[in-house]
């Protein structure tokens, strides 16, 4: 259960840092009135949307960290046979990274008010993300063609489950991205609203890229090597 505990510890550090700035040492029974600097978000819905996404990413992070904990426990058992990673995964990784970069560009374009660059960035992100997903499906087909079926070994099963789950999360992101693209083309929303949507998509995409890189490093076995090296240094 190492990875989930590491993840939760990181969250705990953030929570303590945040709480320490919220006046948890205050003595409310001695105070009256309203502090002049009481933070009232000037735009509630955008502040709420950003916080909501942050909390949601914590939930998604917890989900993947738990899967990785299960992976780490299960792979120590003697029947484990590693899956050879299909080469196409590297291409897919590149596609997802491009997608993330394109959205970051779109975010910058939205901030600068460059309409064409924004549309281009959004479309490029959507196309590369779709390319990533199709690439993942190809990887599945390659693996089954080579005889690595879901039920034949737990390593295979974890490969399908982890990539599938990550793909599903990206698919959900694509729905949000599609709505943002429609907004960008049709208008019907304020520039602030559009900027918010693009920003949320970009943050989600970076997180999904990060999750994918962690998954890839675990599936490829590098993470285990790193942990082994750390263990040797410690002992």
């Amino acid at each position: 259960m190492g990875s989930i505990l590491v993840f939760l510890t990181a969250l705990l550090v953030v929570a303590i840092w945040w709480l320490s700035r919220q006046g948890v040492m205050a003595k409310p029974w001695l105070e009256q009135g309203v502090a002049a600097d009481f933070p009232v978000p000037d735009n509630l819905s955008s502040a709420a949307a950003r916080t909501g996404l942050a909390v949601f990413l914590a939930v998604v992070g917890s989900l993947f960290a738990l899967f990785l904990s299960a992976y780490a426990l299960r792979m120590q058992l003697p029947d484990w046979r590693d899956v050879p990673l299909p080469g196409i995964l590297w291409l897919n990784t590149g596609m997802l990274a491009l997608s993330s970069v394109a959205l970051q560009g779109a975010r910058k374009a939205a901030r600068d008010g460059e309409d064409d660059a924004l549309k281009l960035g959004l479309l490029a992100a959507g196309v590369t993300a779709l390319a990533f997903l199709s690439g993942q499906l190809l990887a599945w087909r390659q693996l089954t063609a080579e005889g690595y079926f879901l039920a034949s070994n737990s390593a295979n099963a974890f490969f399908y489950v982890l990539t599938g789950l990550h793909g599903l999360h990206l698919l959900g992101g694509l729905i949000a991205l599609a709505r943002t693209i429609v907004k960008a083309w049709r208008g019907g929303t304020t520039p602030e609203g559009l900027r918010l949507s693009v920003g949320l998509c970009a943050t989600y995409w970076h997180f999904m890229l990060f999750v994918w890189l962690v998954l890839l490093s675990v599936l490829a076995g590098w993470a285990a090597d790193v942990i082994d090296i750390c263990r040797q240094i410690l002992s």
């Binding site: 939760l8 948890v24 409310p28 105070e31 502090a35 916080t51 989900l63 899967f67 426990l73 029947d79």
Partner: protein
Amino acid sequence: MVDVPLGHVGPAHTADVEDVELYHPHSWVTKYVFSQDAKVIAIQYSLTALTVGLIALVLSWLMRLQLGFPGVFTFIDANAYYQFITMHGMMMVVYVLTALFLGGFGNYLIPLMVGARDMVFPYVNMLSFWVYLLAVLILVASFFAPGGPTGAGWTLYPPQAILSGTPGGQDWGIILMLVSLMVFIIGFTMGGLNYVVTVLQARARGMTLMRMPLTVWGIFTASFMALLAFPALFVGAVMMLFDRALGTSFFMPAIVEMGQALDRSGGSPLLFQHLFWFFGHPEVYIVALPAFGIVSDLISTHARRNIFGYRMMVWALLAIGALSFIVWAHHMYVSGMNPYFGFFFATTTLIIAIPTAIKVYNWILTLWRGNIHLNVPMLFALAFIVTFLNGGLTGLFLGNVVVDVPLSDTMFVVAHFHMVMGVAPILVIFGAIYHWYPKVTGRMLNDTLGKLHFWVTFLGAYAIFFPMHYLGLMGIPRRYYEMGEMTFVPPSTHTLNAFITIAALVVGAAQLVFVFNLFWSLRHGRASGGNPWRATTLEWQTPETPPPHGNWGKDLPVVYRWAYDYSVPGAAEDYIPQNQPGAHPATGMSHG
């Protein structure tokens, strides 16, 4: 007196909030069925959860009939008995307690108590309820599926949960259970995001975190924990569903079933236990923390006394929330583990008793020299303290490895967790319903029926669960369909079992009084006015009762003080609402 940097004391500008933020309902359907108003969603959640609770109650009756009078009720065979146990447990823990505290009380109280117009994502909030309802329907559907519901025990341990010897294991039962849990978790995540973000972002002007009522703190912390802990159950459910439906071996070891070797190998049943309890133990506190918060407010209000050690109460809530993630393996002492791990988890388990004890002391010190009004909500709150203390003490027994090992498979465990996680939170739920019903409906619940309900439930619960400790110490195993001939079981235990069953029937019947009261008072209850308990928190200060969509009329409230200004010396009334400007000088206030 501590200097507190306050830029502006006195009347502040009321926040100008445009009315266009909220989607206002236009028809009966959008107002009462597909409503985006957190208060309506809260009532939908609560009524659904209470209905599930009644089903679970009937299941517990059936179980007790078998245990009290074995062999008399021939329609309860061993399979049916295990199905009753499983469904009773899962329904109560997940679909009743979690849904009622977070979905019900969370939805109703968070926006009102922090001074918001609604949850921050009303549409997602509405979706949350309908997804929850779907999960409930899938769960209930398993009663009518071929083979019936799963009988794997509420912990659903593999490999037995998906083998043919277990009811529902190779039929629909286990699949429907797992799918229902996954749907529930998705629905809860939608709601949980709302509860957390509303507290973080939508608080009224002046409502600092440390001015929030403890109810909000409890629900907030529990929601956050649930958001992080439920994924563990989700992961377990996904993997078991793959094992059951697609033939993988995540949890399935090489196994011989009915003389036939199954096509599985190498899986780890222990892995599921880790995942399950990584969810399962925080779940105890997901249910307990809202109860802690609500009880603090009930006690303070009905004893007309500010809560003792408010800061300590908040810190204790947070500490319990964090610690509860590192105690999970104390549910697995008998599953086999490294003795050092057992020592570690026993230590953390005992450490978590410290913040919990702080809370109990603070409740008692709040009562000390208070002006105690024994209203029905207060009775339930006091009963909670006693019951929780009781269950907590037996928890200290079971937290120690050497004591747990002989007791683990006995009725002692059943008695312990029903006291601490069953009876105690349910007492709070009742107390909270008696307390906030006037705000929800504008009418008081009937007092006489309420007291009848309280005394039968409180004393009856003790009649049920106290003797179970003795049964456990005598070695009566839990999970057994019938005892059969065992030399260590004296005949007196059979009498005791029959007594427990009769008590359970009576307590169950008393809940019908409560249900009747809920509906009867809707029409015939005494009109309550806006603030019948003369309480300080914001939900009692709404311009209208019951509060309409948007809660606050034109202007949002502004908060000038903490939530516990009861019996302030020199004040005109014995309570000062949170939104009352500082008529009373801050200097010279020394209570606590």
